[in-house]
Chain length 240, copies 2
DNA sequence: ACCTGAACACCGTTCAAGT
DNA sequence: ACCTGAACACCGTTCAAGT
């Protein structure tokens, strides 16, 4: 109901005092993420979360002021997975591979929880895990020799590549899933579509045909690494 | 209602035959974009569009099978603006600046219509304007000397940078708008937030403070160009 | 302090019935 | 062929009233 620009964030408000609660924010966020993962964005409703917890819908509003706030919490929760994946393994040498690990871990997380992507565009990301992730990125880049404005811009460039790549990958996968699912009445309509692409944009049609034959997983991973390598090369050449 | 993976696209279905319609798809899409621009994503409803057109809600379903399809049409409509902006001016020399112009034009369009960003993550983009835009990108890169897999990956990398950057910019702007809007009861809660950031992540807090003093427009533009330049450098070094 | 139950003001979508 | 009107099955959110 509220417009994007005036919406406030969970992270700018304190949590309420408590005495004898039966629920926890963690519980609520937990089932929220579960529902989002299994049923997708459209499958989530306050009522659905409430029934999964065996509680009435209104009860949730004691713990969370709004559905948007709940989504913010869910977003930060899955960002936490990236941090966990990082601390499990030993540190790698070199800033390039260190950043590559974070980027790769983030990408994997986004592919596990595709519903987060729509959140990123809508909600500011001020949760503790988001901040910690940003800070470790800054640390790596600062140690590498970046400072001031270049420091911010370098981190932003890498983050942008990750989110942009996963957004595109997700869109592609949803098309591919539809195509592979059933060739029922689908192919006749879509046949006309492809024929038109062929006529109007032969170059594009050729590329679509070429990449259509390839395994999507491999191709997406390849493009991701290609872009990341280009970016890191460009960054490296800007080191003082 | 339908899950992302099984949702079909407007562009894979033909339009219906017609005789004496009072409405047009263009009209409907037009007011849809208008509402999205002024009222934001949450302000849009089928009923709202219908009433703006002076028609009953059910009437829209004669022209458009679903709200998601309408959003797909709106998405491609605003992508058309990028193409228009391109053909108005004379071609620039050099593949780097040619791509820079497309990237810049796309960024400007995304900032004019921030609601598109959530769409990108959710819906595949198979509209005529999206295809035309991709094709001109391919043309520029092919002329520059890229071919086969590198061609796809190069275009993807640039597109990813644009969408990723605008997603981040949009999120940042929504925070800034909130902070600038009113310092009523806001500052007390948020003061605690910033103090916590300072304690836990001093490096991040320093960067936040530094970039907080800068004009957002300039800073976002700077980061965008920085990342793009890094990327183009990396691409250039990969030319055969 | 926490939760229920019921209500309010919305949604997207369908579908008879009209013209 | 196109549109209306009313309905169906949902929403998010609020708030008295209970414990």
């Amino acid at each position: 109901m509220t417009s994007v620009s005036t919406r406030d964030s969970v992270w700018l408000r304190g949590e309420r005092p408590h005495r004898d609660r039966r629920l926890t924010r963690e519980q609520i966020v937990g089932v929220t993420v579960e529902i989002l993962d299994t049923e997708g964005r459209d499958g989530l409703s306050m009522r659905r979360v409430a029934s999964a917890l065996g509680v009435s819908p209104g009860a949730l509003y004691w713990y969370v002021t709004t559905k948007d706030h709940l989504m913010e919490l869910a977003l930060d929760a899955v960002l936490g997975e990236v941090l966990e994946g990082l601390q499990g393994t030993p540190g790698v040498p070199g800033w390039r591979s260190a950043l590559g690990r974070i980027a790769g871990g983030s990408r994997a997380m986004f592919l596990r929880h595709p519903w987060v992507l729509a959140d990123l565009a809508t909600q500011p990301n001020l949760g503790p895990n988001a901040l910690a992730l940003a800070d470790t990125g800054l640390e790596i880049l600062a140690d590498a020799g970046f400072a001031d404005g270049d420091l911010d811009a370098a981190l932003a460039a890498i983050n942008d590549h990750v989110t942009g790549a996963v957004v595109a990958e997700n869109a592609w996968r949803s098309v591919a899933a539809r195509m592979g699912a059933d060739g029922d009445d689908w192919t006749e309509e879509a046949g006309g579509f492809f024929k038109e692409v062929e006529e109007r944009h032969p170059r594009l049609a050729a590329r679509m045909a070429a990449s259509g034959k390839i395994d999507i997983d491999r191709e997406c991973a390849r493009r991701f690494e290609f872009g990341l390598a280009c970016l890191l090369d460009g960054l490296e050449s800007r080191l003082p």
